[in-house]
């Protein structure tokens, strides 16, 4: 049994130490926001936040996560109380099929945690590891800018505080 900290809760997980975090999240903890895309760390769909930074969960084995805080999209907000990044993506209608979007949101969130006003260029460079085949890139770009503005005033809302410590 391994203890895994996800979205502020300790989970007792019965999995081998070399199991990728993505499988544990989806199969054991039943958190399905992080998606299986390529399984090789090449597409970004599985991105989650670990100790405030974006991590590809499909190539991150459990044994690297001892004592670390994992945040998934479910930890940012809910349907009733979406986080700024989620609201922004909805407002901009930035998802088409949506498969890549959870990963995009997580890396964008990690970016906004350390840079509250990223430029277009910084967002593009940051999201470069993420593939989207629908082509909503321009909307995604706008959504991240919108999220930055929303988070600026996030203190006013009662929703969530966004992410890992």
């Amino acid at each position: 049994m391994t203890t895994l900290k996800v979205n502020g809760h300790d989970h007792q997980v019965d999995a081998d130490a070399d199991t990728p975090l993505l499988y544990v999240l989806r199969d054991d903890i039943k958190l399905n926001a992080a998606k299986f895309g390529c399984g090789l760390g090449q597409c970004g769909a599985c991105t989650v936040i670990v100790d405030g930074k974006a991590v590809l969960s499909c190539v991150t084995p459990l044994l690297l996560l001892e004592g670390k805080q994992v945040t998934t999209l479910e930890g940012l907000g809910t349907i009733d109380a979406p986080a700024p990044i989620q609201r922004a993506f909805m407002d901009e209608q930035a998802a088409q099929c949506g498969y890549c979007i959870a990963g995009m949101m997580m890396r964008a969130q990690a970016l906004l945690l350390r840079n509250s006003k990223p430029t277009d260029e910084q967002i593009r460079a940051e999201l470069e590891p993420h593939l989207c085949r629908c082509g909503t890139h321009m909307r995604i770009l706008r959504a991240v800018h919108r999220a930055a503005r929303l988070m600026d005033t996030a203190e006013l809302s009662t929703t969530t505080q966004g992410s890992a410590p």
Binding site: A17, P61, L63, A125, M138
Partner: protein, 452 residues
Amino acid sequence: MTRTRIIAGVVVALLVGGGVAGFAVAWRPAISAIEPPAPPSFDTALVRRGRDLAALGNCNDCHTVRGGKTFAGGLAVPTPFGTIYSSNITPDADTGIGRWPEMAFRRAMRSGVDRDGAHLYPTFPYDHFTNVTDEDDRALYAYLMTRPAVHAPTPANKLAFPLDQRFVVAGWKLLFLRRGTYQPDGTKSVEWNRGAYLVEGLAHCGACHTPRNALGAERVSASFAGGDVDNWNAYAINARSPSPVPWNTEALFSYLRQGWHPDHGVARGPMAEVVRNLSSVDEKDVHAIAVYMTSVFGPPTPDHIRRGDEVLAQIKSPTVPSGPTETAGAAIYAAACATCHETGRALPYGGVNLGLSTAISGPDPRNAINIILSGIRPVEGERSPIMPGFANAMTDDQVSAVLSYLRSRFSNQPAWTGVEKTIEDARRTQTVSLQTPPPRNAPADPMQRDKP
């Protein structure tokens, strides 16, 4: 009194004499500016030859900011003396070399002096380019003068006094610049001589692969013994090569030509752009480089051959289960690395067996750390190897643990020292080779969509 006067007189004479001598050494005349020549005035065959030569010289690598306009300069080159910015070598009249006559270009290549007569810092490797023939300089000039002009002022260098004074470079040249074009060695083949001309001249391999002295000049006595570039180790490419399997001409040729070789892995870091350029030139030139470099490596020692055979045999034997996991490093390797690096999937898309990796057998852990932290980014517009980076997934302790495991399992070399410090440094420094260029295929302004 008289005595004091004599001494004073001698001092003044020395100062004046020194001043005149210094002036003679340091002063170079300006060469008159010209109206930027019209591109059609250059012979297309000459331009085409210049294009290949520029690729052999890897000019675009230093003279282009990642994601920026080609040859527009402005790339920050870190040196032990400060940061030097590469210059704009597009034919822009105001900020590039548009007003340079060919003679000024040749003088810059030959002796590191710009059109105005100012000394150029030897970050621009004219200590190699002095070997380039007039005909090749002419072709390079024709090629550069027919590129799109880009208005891009070169940022001011960040150098401390007195190094910010360009005349100081004149002293450096007195000590270290050996002028003269390449002289063929009549006892060697034509191909060998072609390779030597390129390697010692335009391709300036030694600029990275030869260690430098305290004044930043290549140590002639240690040619190709391994050097530093942009927080990477440029491996020794002579008899001291740390490559587990000895290099030979065919391996060098295919590595330089296609960017990888099954016995050596893929070329990444600062070497990535070099092989990208070499993939686009006449393959005869690449083969000539391989022939010459084979002689620089020299015949491998019996020990080196034995080690290479051993490693290759281990790899060809059926995959052993990923080894014991009694240490933290072994467990990390088995869980995070072996799934790609020990599957036997062919290069370049499969991970190289780390027994073949020069990074793991190399003299310091920088290259391995850079790759573990940042991975290998895909190359835009090419099919290329990739590896996810683990900077955000691994702590320094975890990186350190896996490195010491890799070193002990996959090399026959003693443990590295200072690994923790190197990891901290690597996390702090984003090396140029790992910077992500902004994607070029998604315009910021959707109205621009149809423009290239």
